[in-house]
Amino acid sequence: MTSDAFISIRNVDKFFGKFQAIDDVSIDIGHGEFFSLLGSSGCGKTTLLRMLAGFESPSSGEIYIDGQPMSEVPPHMRPVNMVFQSYAIFPHLDVRDNIAYGLRKQKLPKAKRDEMVDEMLELIKLPGYGDRKANELSGGQRQRIALARALILRPKVLLLDEPLGALDKQLREQMQLELRDLQRTVGITFVFVTHDQEEALTLSDRIAVMSEGRVLQMDSPTGLYERPSSRRVASFIGTMNFFDGTVSGVNGTSVEVAAEGLGTLRLDRRETAVAEGDKVQVAIRPEKLGISDSRPEGEGGRIEGTLENSAYLGERSHHYVRLDGLEKPVAVSAQNKENAIATADRARPIWLSWNEESLVLLAGD
């Protein structure tokens, strides 16, 4: 394990009977990092988090936290605290007792304890809520109580299982900002589970994209978005246009690809190891494509197509352009600046353009 990793998940497998929920996962998470596990429903995010908390044990592999192997450490002895998907606020206790629940062993005088709770209530912006009953709280308030209840113990790691899942959009965005602020203020390591890619991109330092119990790619939000390593990651995060192609020439660091619809492309790329004749895919994000009525000048690639369909969204428009030799139209997302092109009332010719750096080369599926 690397020395600066605070949490180190080493080759962990988890079987439920014959079903493999986690398949050879290795992740290193640094101190003070905001790390997200992103994946669709049932891909094993909660299972992985529960193994970190100690509620499930790995079938094989080992988890280290702060250098200590965790396999023999029961949940109540681990330096981690969890915010549950259902919040798990104790309904028989009021807010104050909920937040102070974990302080029993510290045997603090009541005044000190109350002071700490008040501090926490301040932090989560619910001052004066100490005497409320658990069932007199809104979803967002419960979520913050659950957070305070974990934070008051100053854990080294906070595990959050889709904590914002139950909130409406507005509250969710507000809580995202608060979470991020909080994480910077208290400086502890967050492991955050979500199936919302936008949320993961907004909040995280790094993201592991999971699918069927495996980690597909682990990178920073920009890295994942700009340099996805596979078609699955690329289509899971944001929208992406894919073009099938064949490598027609490899010349040092540059690759020549004959891509369907786009013609021959030259890519100065070396991340993906390819050889001549390989089936590959070339991908580009809709917002990286330029669109114009006349033939664009300058460097980069360009191609003429037919504007089939447009959707005007105010700030930006989505256009769908048909290229010769392609079944699916290409999606283009253009900001509506003053020179915005008119939306399509009927099919008409249009030009697409791109920078060579925006093209992503993916190994063929």
Binding site: A53, P74, P75, V80, Y87, A88, Y101, R104, R149, L153
Partner: protein, 271 residues
């Protein structure tokens, strides 16, 4: 248009049925208190006048008090022990997955359907084989068998109704299994515990068949009543005593059910 929803609309035949059902169930029982206030040692119509002397007389009989205290002692011990066992049983059934769980639950519920006389005889044989003298202790053991299914049946919905992640949250916040039980599990199921205590107490207090086989020299209250039935002149006192037991049992069961109301509703969930 009425504002009542379809499902809440009054249903006349159903109401009539409910009333008839209650009458058939309870009217025979109501004759007991009725005749206990009758100023005659014969149970027959017409009633001869109102009196409370049968009740007053009860208070002056030491044997009644002894039997009463025996029943209270047995009832108290039985309710506490059965409920304690019931708590662990219900927790094991709801929280752990183990083979043979279904059959086990059925097995625990057996005393509800197997005639108690079978259990009574079996225990009597067992105790006499082992040379255990019959006493209030043997009655207590017999009653625990009778009460355990009631306790489990009362507690199971409570355990099923609350989110297991509450117990995990407690462990996550640093409490071991023991403290988690005291600080989360027990408070969550507490209304069920009270209900189980009360139900087990009444079941034990009213129980006759087991007591009949397993009582030694000290009778429980139902055994005492049984003994008094041989003497016609004692019958009104028996009626008075029975009325008292009926009233007390009703009260305890109702209070217990009231405390345990809403065992499945969201108030005991984690969210």
């Amino acid at each position: 248009m009425s504002s009542e929803s379809y499902i809440r609309r009054p249903n006349r035949p159903l109401q009539v049925y409910a009333i008839v059902f209650l009458i058939v169930l309870y009217v025979p029982v109501l004759f007991i208190p009725l005749f206990s206030f009758n100023d005659s040692i014969y149970v027959r119509f017409p009633l001869e006048g109102f009196t409370v002397k049968w009740y007053v007389e009860l208070f002056h009989r030491e044997a009644v008090w002894n039997a009463f205290m025996n029943s209270v002692k047995v009832g108290a011990v039985v309710s506490v022990l059965s409920t304690a066992l019931g708590i662990f049983g219900a927790k094991a059934i709801t929280r752990y997955r183990f083979p043979g769980r279904g059959p086990l639950v059925g097995f625990i519920m057996l005393p509800l359907v197997v005639p108690l006389i079978i259990f009574g005889v079996a225990l009597l044989v067992l105790f006499s084989q082992m040379g255990v003298p019959l006493s209030l202790y043997t009655v207590t053991i017999g009653h625990m068998i009778v009460c355990l299914p009631f306790s489990i049946a009362t507690l199971l919905p409570r355990f099923e109704g609350f989110d297991p992640s509450l117990e995990e949250a407690s462990a996550d916040l640093g409490e071991n299994a023991w403290w988690t039980f005291w600080r989360v599990t027990l408070p969550m199921v507490f209304p069920g515990v009270i209900a189980s205590l009360m139900l087990c107490f009444t079941v034990s207090f009213d129980e006759f068949i087991m007591a009949f086989f397993l009582t030694g020299t000290q009778p429980t209250l139902p055994m005492y009543i049984w003994g008094q039935l041989r003497f016609p002149q004692e019958f009104p006192s028996v009626l008075a005593l029975s009325s008292f037991i009926i009233a007390a049992s009703f009260a305890i069961v109702f209070v217990g059910l009231w405390i345990n109301r809403g065992a499945h509703v969201s108030t005991i969930k984690g969210d």
